[in-house]
């Protein structure tokens, strides 16, 4: 028990997390590519036409995964932020900072693909309804987090400020998720939920789940990659970074 605890904390130091992350990135990237190809094949080549939305429904194969990731990445970011505030670990701030740009891009893709879906289906690119507005707020939260961290020179203080912002913003996540239930919105309800059978054909569902896995793997790979860069930058005065740089060549 005690032993396990020590091992866990060992990886909380950038010095030991750096090589571990380096080993994991290719696996996550490869898994992302495999899931992505499988998901695209099922979603774009074999899945049937939707009886209501025609072929336009195929946008959901990226819209839903991107939307899920935009929310999930925010939760992970807030988790690291909370850990950083509570235990003052160096790794936490680095992870939160590494996740934010990918989260922002996912929120952007969610809004972008949503607009392209909304135009033919609803007849409008955008409405100020609860689901869309709260997702837009999520994008602004990410951008605010990035801007706040960039504006503060001392990385430890930047982490703290960013963490507070991230934690306050968490309240927005359940609002996004449940907005289609709580308010009478234009946005359709959840296509997949835990407590009932999915409201879609199985091939469509598989395509969507594979794409979601692909987005998941991609996000982990890119966030770990960025985290490694941040580690080198922030720990540049330390011996381990000097040794890593000497060993790593121009890689």
């Amino acid at each position: 028990m005690n032993n396990r605890l020590i091992n866990w904390f060992k990886y909380a130091s950038p010095q030991s997390f750096y090589p571990l992350a380096g080993k994991m990135i290719p696996w996550f990237a490869a898994a992302g590519a495999v899931f992505g190809i499988a998901g695209l094949w099922i979603g774009m080549a074999v899945a049937p036409t939707d009886f209501q939305q025609g072929e336009g429904y195929r946008i959901i194969f990226i819209h839903v995964p991107a939307s899920w990731m935009s929310m999930f990445i925010y939760l992970v970011m807030a988790f690291w932020a909370a850990l950083g505030l509570a235990y003052n670990t160096r790794l936490s701030g680095m992870m939160a900072q590494a996740l934010a740009p990918t989260g922002a891009l996912m929120a952007f893709l969610s809004l972008w693909t949503g607009a392209l879906w909304g135009k033919p289906m609803w007849g409008t690119w955008w409405v100020w309804d609860a689901r869309l507005t709260s997702e837009l707020i999520l994008l602004f939260l990410y951008i605010g987090f990035i801007a706040l961290q960039a504006a503060i020179d001392d990385p430890r203080r930047a982490d703290k400020a960013g963490a507070v912002l991230a934690l306050v913003g968490v309240v927005n996540i359940p609002i996004i998720y449940f907005s289609v239930k709580w308010w009478n919105t234009l946005h359709q309800g959840a296509s997949v939920s835990l407590n009932r059978a999915p409201a879609m054909a199985s091939l469509m569902l598989w395509g969507m789940l594979l794409m979601a896995l692909a987005f998941w793997m991609y996000s982990i790979a890119i966030a770990l990659y960025r985290a490694r860069t941040i580690m080198l930058e922030r720990e540049r005065g330390t011996e381990w970074v000097k040794e890593t740089l000497a060993a790593e060549g121009a890689k």
Binding site: M44, V46, E55, R58, I59, P101, R226, R228, V241, L245
Partner: protein, 67 residues
């Protein structure tokens, strides 16, 4: 698992939703390609900078004596 489309132009047309479907997939592909490229560039730039700084430090400590 039969292919749903009868021809490639059928696939491109997306039943009249081509602009919206490909507009979504195109921008997503762009983002997912650009993000890693930017990340790799940032990392390379940082490593080059840190190495320059390390060399400069070493230079100040020892081999600058000839000046």
């Amino acid at each position: 698992m039969n292919i749903h489309w009868s021809s490639f132009s059928d696939f491109l047309a997306m039943g009249g939703y081509g602009l919206y479907v490909w507009g979504s997939f195109g921008v997503t592909a762009l983002v997912l390609i650009a993000e890693p490229i930017v990340a790799v560039r940032n990392r390379k730039a940082l490593i080059a900078r840190l190495k320059r700084q390390a060399r400069a430090e070493r230079g100040n400590n020892g081999s600058n004596k000839e000046q």
